[in-house]
Symmetry: C2
Subunit: 191 residues, 2 copies
Protein backbone atom coordinates (compact mmCIF):
# COMPACT_ATOMS: atom_id res chain seq x y z
CA UNK A 1 0.00 0.00 0.00
CA UNK A 2 1.87 3.04 -1.33
CA UNK A 3 0.31 5.72 0.90
CA UNK A 4 1.21 3.74 4.00
CA UNK A 5 4.80 3.26 2.82
CA UNK A 6 5.06 7.03 2.28
CA UNK A 7 3.87 7.64 5.84
CA UNK A 8 6.40 5.14 7.18
CA UNK A 9 9.28 6.72 5.23
CA UNK A 10 8.28 10.31 6.04
CA UNK A 11 7.04 10.01 9.61
CA UNK A 12 8.38 6.72 11.00
CA UNK A 13 11.47 6.69 13.19
CA UNK A 14 13.86 3.77 13.34
CA UNK A 15 15.16 3.71 16.91
CA UNK A 16 16.88 0.31 16.85
CA UNK A 17 17.61 -2.39 14.26
CA UNK A 18 14.29 -4.02 15.15
CA UNK A 19 12.21 -1.07 16.40
CA UNK A 20 10.17 1.25 14.18
CA UNK A 21 8.19 4.00 15.93
CA UNK A 22 5.07 5.07 14.07
CA UNK A 23 3.39 6.75 17.00
CA UNK A 24 2.87 10.03 15.15
CA UNK A 25 0.22 8.48 12.89
CA UNK A 26 -0.61 4.86 13.77
CA UNK A 27 -0.57 3.98 17.46
CA UNK A 28 -0.43 7.00 19.76
CA UNK A 29 -1.50 9.95 17.61
CA UNK A 30 -3.86 8.50 15.01
CA UNK A 31 -4.24 9.84 11.46
CA UNK A 32 -7.89 9.19 10.64
CA UNK A 33 -7.53 9.89 6.92
CA UNK A 34 -4.83 7.22 6.76
CA UNK A 35 -7.00 4.90 8.86
CA UNK A 36 -9.78 5.26 6.27
CA UNK A 37 -7.39 4.38 3.44
CA UNK A 38 -6.23 1.35 5.46
CA UNK A 39 -9.84 0.28 6.03
CA UNK A 40 -10.63 0.55 2.31
CA UNK A 41 -7.55 -1.48 1.45
CA UNK A 42 -8.51 -4.25 3.87
CA UNK A 43 -12.01 -4.27 2.40
CA UNK A 44 -10.61 -4.71 -1.12
CA UNK A 45 -8.29 -7.51 -0.06
CA UNK A 46 -11.01 -9.43 1.79
CA UNK A 47 -13.99 -8.45 -0.38
CA UNK A 48 -14.73 -12.02 -1.57
CA UNK A 49 -15.30 -13.32 1.95
CA UNK A 50 -18.58 -13.04 3.82
CA UNK A 51 -17.04 -11.86 7.07
CA UNK A 52 -19.37 -11.58 10.05
CA UNK A 53 -17.17 -9.86 12.61
CA UNK A 54 -13.83 -8.13 13.05
CA UNK A 55 -11.66 -9.23 15.96
CA UNK A 56 -8.76 -7.20 17.32
CA UNK A 57 -6.85 -6.68 20.55
CA UNK A 58 -6.50 -3.68 22.80
CA UNK A 59 -5.27 -1.02 22.52
CA UNK A 60 -3.79 0.01 19.14
CA UNK A 61 -5.91 -2.37 17.07
CA UNK A 62 -9.23 -0.91 18.18
CA UNK A 63 -9.28 2.30 16.18
CA UNK A 64 -8.09 0.60 13.00
CA UNK A 65 -10.71 -2.13 13.40
CA UNK A 66 -13.53 0.39 13.98
CA UNK A 67 -12.69 2.50 10.93
CA UNK A 68 -12.19 -0.65 8.82
CA UNK A 69 -15.57 -2.07 9.91
CA UNK A 70 -17.29 0.82 8.16
CA UNK A 71 -16.09 -0.45 4.78
CA UNK A 72 -17.56 -3.87 5.56
CA UNK A 73 -21.10 -2.52 6.08
CA UNK A 74 -20.57 -1.62 9.75
CA UNK A 75 -19.69 -5.12 10.92
CA UNK A 76 -19.44 -5.54 14.69
CA UNK A 77 -15.93 -5.19 16.14
CA UNK A 78 -14.87 -7.29 19.14
CA UNK A 79 -11.64 -6.54 20.95
CA UNK A 80 -9.80 -9.01 23.15
CA UNK A 81 -8.86 -7.61 26.53
CA UNK A 82 -5.46 -8.08 28.14
CA UNK A 83 -5.09 -9.21 31.72
CA UNK A 84 -2.10 -9.93 33.88
CA UNK A 85 -4.44 -11.68 36.34
CA UNK A 86 -4.38 -15.46 36.30
CA UNK A 87 -7.91 -16.20 37.49
CA UNK A 88 -9.99 -18.30 35.13
CA UNK A 89 -13.44 -17.21 34.08
CA UNK A 90 -15.76 -19.84 32.59
CA UNK A 91 -17.67 -17.28 30.55
CA UNK A 92 -14.70 -16.19 28.42
CA UNK A 93 -12.44 -17.69 25.81
CA UNK A 94 -8.87 -17.04 26.82
CA UNK A 95 -5.38 -17.61 25.58
CA UNK A 96 -1.93 -17.06 27.02
CA UNK A 97 0.37 -14.76 25.07
CA UNK A 98 4.06 -14.15 25.63
CA UNK A 99 5.11 -10.52 25.26
CA UNK A 100 8.70 -10.17 24.09
CA UNK A 101 8.62 -6.45 24.86
CA UNK A 102 7.67 -7.03 28.48
CA UNK A 103 9.33 -10.43 28.89
CA UNK A 104 6.22 -11.97 30.44
CA UNK A 105 2.99 -13.80 29.70
CA UNK A 106 -0.42 -12.16 29.77
CA UNK A 107 -3.94 -13.47 29.23
CA UNK A 108 -6.20 -12.29 26.44
CA UNK A 109 -9.94 -12.76 26.76
CA UNK A 110 -13.14 -12.53 24.76
CA UNK A 111 -16.57 -13.02 26.31
CA UNK A 112 -18.19 -16.18 24.93
CA UNK A 113 -21.30 -14.18 24.05
CA UNK A 114 -19.46 -12.33 21.30
CA UNK A 115 -17.95 -15.18 19.25
CA UNK A 116 -19.73 -18.30 18.07
CA UNK A 117 -19.54 -21.13 15.57
CA UNK A 118 -21.52 -19.22 12.90
CA UNK A 119 -18.94 -16.43 12.81
CA UNK A 120 -16.43 -15.88 10.03
CA UNK A 121 -13.74 -13.71 11.57
CA UNK A 122 -11.32 -11.16 10.16
CA UNK A 123 -8.50 -10.44 12.61
CA UNK A 124 -7.03 -6.94 12.39
CA UNK A 125 -3.96 -5.56 14.17
CA UNK A 126 -1.51 -2.70 13.76
CA UNK A 127 1.80 -4.62 13.95
CA UNK A 128 3.02 -8.13 13.26
CA UNK A 129 6.41 -9.04 14.73
CA UNK A 130 6.73 -12.41 16.47
CA UNK A 131 3.03 -13.12 15.90
CA UNK A 132 2.21 -14.17 19.43
CA UNK A 133 -0.78 -11.85 19.84
CA UNK A 134 -2.30 -13.04 16.54
CA UNK A 135 -1.72 -16.70 17.50
CA UNK A 136 -3.59 -16.02 20.73
CA UNK A 137 -6.49 -14.49 18.78
CA UNK A 138 -6.53 -17.47 16.40
CA UNK A 139 -6.63 -19.79 19.41
CA UNK A 140 -9.66 -17.91 20.75
CA UNK A 141 -11.46 -18.00 17.37
CA UNK A 142 -10.93 -21.77 17.23
CA UNK A 143 -12.15 -22.26 20.78
CA UNK A 144 -15.36 -20.55 19.65
CA UNK A 145 -15.59 -22.94 16.69
CA UNK A 146 -15.70 -19.96 14.34
CA UNK A 147 -14.17 -19.76 10.87
CA UNK A 148 -11.19 -17.53 10.15
CA UNK A 149 -11.35 -15.47 6.98
CA UNK A 150 -7.85 -14.13 7.48
CA UNK A 151 -5.53 -11.77 9.27
CA UNK A 152 -5.06 -8.15 8.19
CA UNK A 153 -1.96 -6.38 9.48
CA UNK A 154 -0.97 -2.76 8.90
CA UNK A 155 2.81 -3.11 9.33
CA UNK A 156 4.65 -6.43 9.24
CA UNK A 157 8.23 -6.72 10.41
CA UNK A 158 9.08 -9.43 7.92
CA UNK A 159 12.49 -10.07 9.48
CA UNK A 160 10.73 -11.56 12.51
CA UNK A 161 8.89 -14.87 12.42
CA UNK A 162 5.25 -13.83 12.84
CA UNK A 163 4.34 -14.37 9.17
CA UNK A 164 5.82 -17.86 9.16
CA UNK A 165 3.89 -18.83 12.30
CA UNK A 166 0.56 -17.61 10.90
CA UNK A 167 1.01 -19.28 7.51
CA UNK A 168 1.86 -22.53 9.33
CA UNK A 169 -1.66 -22.32 10.78
CA UNK A 170 -3.06 -22.28 7.22
CA UNK A 171 -4.46 -18.80 7.71
CA UNK A 172 -4.46 -16.13 5.03
CA UNK A 173 -2.33 -13.12 5.94
CA UNK A 174 -2.51 -9.69 4.30
CA UNK A 175 0.02 -7.10 5.48
CA UNK A 176 -0.28 -3.62 4.01
CA UNK A 177 3.42 -2.81 4.46
CA UNK A 178 6.11 -5.48 4.79
CA UNK A 179 9.41 -4.34 6.21
CA UNK A 180 12.45 -6.34 5.18
CA UNK A 181 14.96 -4.54 7.34
CA UNK A 182 15.51 -1.56 9.63
CA UNK A 183 19.29 -1.91 9.62
CA UNK A 184 21.40 1.21 9.67
CA UNK A 185 18.38 3.30 10.62
CA UNK A 186 16.87 2.79 7.17
CA UNK A 187 13.48 1.26 6.31
CA UNK A 188 13.70 -1.28 3.49
CA UNK A 189 10.44 -2.79 2.23
CA UNK A 190 10.03 -6.33 0.90
CA UNK A 191 9.02 -5.24 -2.59
Amino acid sequence: MELLKEYIIEKGRVIADDVLKVDSFLNHQLDIGLYQAIGQEFQQRFSQDSISKILTIEASGIGIACITAQYFGNLPVVFAKKFSAKNLNPEVYESRVFSFTKGQFYQIRVDKKYLNSRDNILIIDDFLANGNAVLGLLDIVRQAGAKISGVGIVIEKSFQDGREKILKENVRLESLARIKSLEGGKVTFMD
Copy 2:
Protein backbone atom coordinates in the same frame (compact mmCIF):
# COMPACT_ATOMS: atom_id res chain seq x y z
CA MET B 1 -29.62 10.99 22.80
CA GLU B 2 -32.64 8.77 22.23
CA LEU B 3 -30.98 6.01 20.16
CA LEU B 4 -28.34 5.52 22.84
CA LYS B 5 -30.97 5.33 25.58
CA GLU B 6 -32.80 2.65 23.58
CA TYR B 7 -29.58 0.63 23.31
CA ILE B 8 -29.00 0.96 27.06
CA ILE B 9 -32.56 -0.14 27.89
CA GLU B 10 -32.61 -3.01 25.39
CA LYS B 11 -29.05 -4.32 25.59
CA GLY B 12 -27.56 -3.00 28.84
CA ARG B 13 -27.43 -5.23 31.91
CA VAL B 14 -27.55 -3.86 35.44
CA ILE B 15 -25.42 -6.22 37.51
CA ALA B 16 -25.23 -4.15 40.71
CA ASP B 17 -26.73 -0.91 42.02
CA ASP B 18 -23.76 0.95 40.57
CA VAL B 19 -22.69 -1.30 37.67
CA LEU B 20 -24.15 -1.17 34.16
CA LYS B 21 -22.67 -3.57 31.59
CA VAL B 22 -22.85 -2.32 28.01
CA ASP B 23 -20.26 -4.65 26.59
CA SER B 24 -22.54 -5.97 23.86
CA PHE B 25 -22.43 -2.64 21.99
CA LEU B 26 -20.08 -0.08 23.57
CA ASN B 27 -16.92 -1.45 25.12
CA HIS B 28 -16.17 -5.08 24.24
CA GLN B 29 -18.30 -5.79 21.17
CA LEU B 30 -18.65 -2.46 19.36
CA ASP B 31 -21.70 -1.41 17.33
CA ILE B 32 -20.21 0.76 14.58
CA GLY B 33 -23.57 2.16 13.44
CA LEU B 34 -24.20 3.38 16.98
CA TYR B 35 -20.64 4.72 17.14
CA GLN B 36 -21.36 6.79 14.01
CA ALA B 37 -24.53 8.22 15.57
CA ILE B 38 -22.51 9.04 18.72
CA GLY B 39 -19.85 10.76 16.63
CA GLN B 40 -22.44 12.87 14.81
CA GLU B 41 -24.04 13.86 18.11
CA PHE B 42 -20.69 14.99 19.56
CA GLN B 43 -20.03 16.97 16.39
CA GLN B 44 -23.38 18.76 16.73
CA ARG B 45 -22.80 19.56 20.40
CA PHE B 46 -19.28 20.92 19.85
CA SER B 47 -19.77 22.37 16.36
CA GLN B 48 -19.11 26.00 17.39
CA ASP B 49 -15.61 25.25 18.66
CA SER B 50 -12.53 25.11 16.49
CA ILE B 51 -11.20 21.91 17.94
CA SER B 52 -7.72 20.85 16.79
CA LYS B 53 -7.43 17.38 18.31
CA ILE B 54 -9.42 14.70 20.12
CA LEU B 55 -7.88 13.21 23.26
CA THR B 56 -9.00 9.95 24.81
CA ILE B 57 -7.62 7.13 26.94
CA GLU B 58 -7.06 3.47 26.21
CA ALA B 59 -8.80 1.18 25.63
CA SER B 60 -12.57 1.76 25.26
CA GLY B 61 -12.31 5.42 24.33
CA ILE B 62 -10.20 4.81 21.22
CA GLY B 63 -12.84 3.46 18.85
CA ILE B 64 -15.38 6.12 19.81
CA ALA B 65 -12.79 8.86 19.38
CA CYS B 66 -11.71 7.55 15.94
CA ILE B 67 -15.25 7.34 14.57
CA THR B 68 -16.10 10.75 16.09
CA ALA B 69 -13.03 12.36 14.53
CA GLN B 70 -14.48 11.69 11.08
CA TYR B 71 -17.33 14.12 11.77
CA PHE B 72 -14.80 16.81 12.71
CA GLY B 73 -13.02 16.65 9.35
CA ASN B 74 -10.70 13.77 10.31
CA LEU B 75 -9.05 15.52 13.24
CA PRO B 76 -6.09 13.69 14.76
CA VAL B 77 -6.89 11.45 17.73
CA VAL B 78 -4.39 11.05 20.57
CA PHE B 79 -4.88 8.39 23.21
CA ALA B 80 -3.28 8.46 26.64
CA LYS B 81 -1.56 5.22 27.56
CA LYS B 82 -1.91 3.58 30.96
CA PHE B 83 1.09 2.35 32.90
CA SER B 84 1.50 0.74 36.26
CA ALA B 85 5.22 1.55 36.12
CA LYS B 86 6.38 4.48 38.22
CA ASN B 87 9.44 5.53 36.21
CA LEU B 88 9.39 9.12 35.04
CA ASN B 89 9.97 10.00 31.43
CA PRO B 90 10.88 13.60 30.60
CA GLU B 91 9.40 13.37 27.11
CA VAL B 92 5.83 12.72 28.23
CA TYR B 93 3.10 14.56 30.08
CA GLU B 94 1.83 12.30 32.80
CA SER B 95 -0.76 12.26 35.53
CA ARG B 96 -1.61 9.88 38.34
CA VAL B 97 -5.11 8.43 38.33
CA PHE B 98 -6.80 6.42 41.06
CA SER B 99 -8.85 3.48 39.80
CA PHE B 100 -11.74 2.66 42.10
CA THR B 101 -12.34 -0.60 40.22
CA LYS B 102 -8.79 -1.82 40.83
CA GLY B 103 -8.19 -0.01 44.12
CA GLN B 104 -4.85 1.40 42.96
CA PHE B 105 -3.14 4.27 41.20
CA TYR B 106 -1.88 4.12 37.64
CA GLN B 107 -0.03 6.60 35.42
CA ILE B 108 -1.45 7.97 32.21
CA ARG B 109 0.91 9.41 29.61
CA VAL B 110 0.91 11.40 26.40
CA ASP B 111 4.07 12.06 24.41
CA LYS B 112 4.90 15.79 24.48
CA LYS B 113 5.14 15.80 20.68
CA TYR B 114 1.39 15.28 20.33
CA LEU B 115 -0.03 18.06 22.51
CA ASN B 116 1.01 21.70 22.47
CA SER B 117 -0.09 25.17 23.47
CA ARG B 118 -1.80 25.83 20.12
CA ASP B 119 -4.16 22.89 20.58
CA ASN B 120 -7.83 23.16 21.46
CA ILE B 121 -8.75 19.75 22.82
CA LEU B 122 -11.97 17.76 22.93
CA ILE B 123 -11.75 14.92 25.45
CA ILE B 124 -13.87 11.85 24.61
CA ASP B 125 -14.52 8.79 26.78
CA ASP B 126 -17.08 6.01 27.02
CA PHE B 127 -17.99 6.26 30.72
CA LEU B 128 -18.00 8.92 33.42
CA ALA B 129 -18.28 7.68 37.00
CA ASN B 130 -15.96 9.20 39.59
CA GLY B 131 -14.25 11.29 36.92
CA ASN B 132 -10.69 10.44 37.85
CA ALA B 133 -9.59 9.43 34.36
CA VAL B 134 -11.00 12.66 32.87
CA LEU B 135 -9.33 14.75 35.59
CA GLY B 136 -6.04 13.06 34.66
CA LEU B 137 -6.58 13.94 31.00
CA LEU B 138 -7.43 17.56 31.93
CA ASP B 139 -4.23 17.70 33.97
CA ILE B 140 -2.24 16.56 30.93
CA VAL B 141 -3.94 19.08 28.62
CA ARG B 142 -3.05 21.86 31.06
CA GLN B 143 0.56 20.70 31.37
CA ALA B 144 0.73 21.08 27.59
CA GLY B 145 -0.65 24.62 27.88
CA ALA B 146 -3.45 23.65 25.49
CA LYS B 147 -7.04 24.91 25.59
CA ILE B 148 -9.90 22.59 26.52
CA SER B 149 -12.98 22.82 24.38
CA GLY B 150 -14.87 20.35 26.53
CA VAL B 151 -15.47 16.77 27.56
CA GLY B 152 -17.78 14.44 25.64
CA ILE B 153 -18.98 11.33 27.47
CA VAL B 154 -21.16 8.55 26.09
CA ILE B 155 -22.67 7.30 29.39
CA GLU B 156 -22.59 9.29 32.62
CA LYS B 157 -23.41 7.64 35.93
CA SER B 158 -24.89 10.82 37.37
CA PHE B 159 -25.24 9.30 40.86
CA GLN B 160 -21.45 9.38 41.16
CA ASP B 161 -19.44 12.58 41.50
CA GLY B 162 -17.57 12.77 38.17
CA ARG B 163 -19.79 15.52 36.71
CA GLU B 164 -19.41 17.68 39.79
CA LYS B 165 -15.60 17.36 39.71
CA ILE B 166 -15.38 18.30 36.03
CA LEU B 167 -17.72 21.29 36.32
CA LYS B 168 -15.65 22.50 39.28
CA GLU B 169 -12.74 22.71 36.81
CA ASN B 170 -14.84 25.12 34.68
CA VAL B 171 -14.88 22.66 31.81
CA ARG B 172 -17.87 22.07 29.58
CA LEU B 173 -19.29 18.55 29.85
CA GLU B 174 -21.65 16.89 27.37
CA SER B 175 -22.90 13.41 28.29
CA LEU B 176 -25.07 11.65 25.72
CA ALA B 177 -26.92 9.55 28.30
CA ARG B 178 -27.17 10.51 31.98
CA ILE B 179 -28.14 7.75 34.37
CA LYS B 180 -29.83 8.85 37.55
CA SER B 181 -30.05 5.42 39.15
CA LEU B 182 -29.54 1.70 38.62
CA GLU B 183 -31.39 0.72 41.77
CA GLY B 184 -33.48 -2.43 41.74
CA GLY B 185 -31.88 -3.54 38.48
CA LYS B 186 -33.63 -0.74 36.59
CA VAL B 187 -32.04 2.03 34.53
CA THR B 188 -33.53 5.45 35.29
CA PHE B 189 -32.32 8.40 33.18
CA MET B 190 -31.95 11.99 34.41
CA ASP B 191 -34.54 13.44 32.02
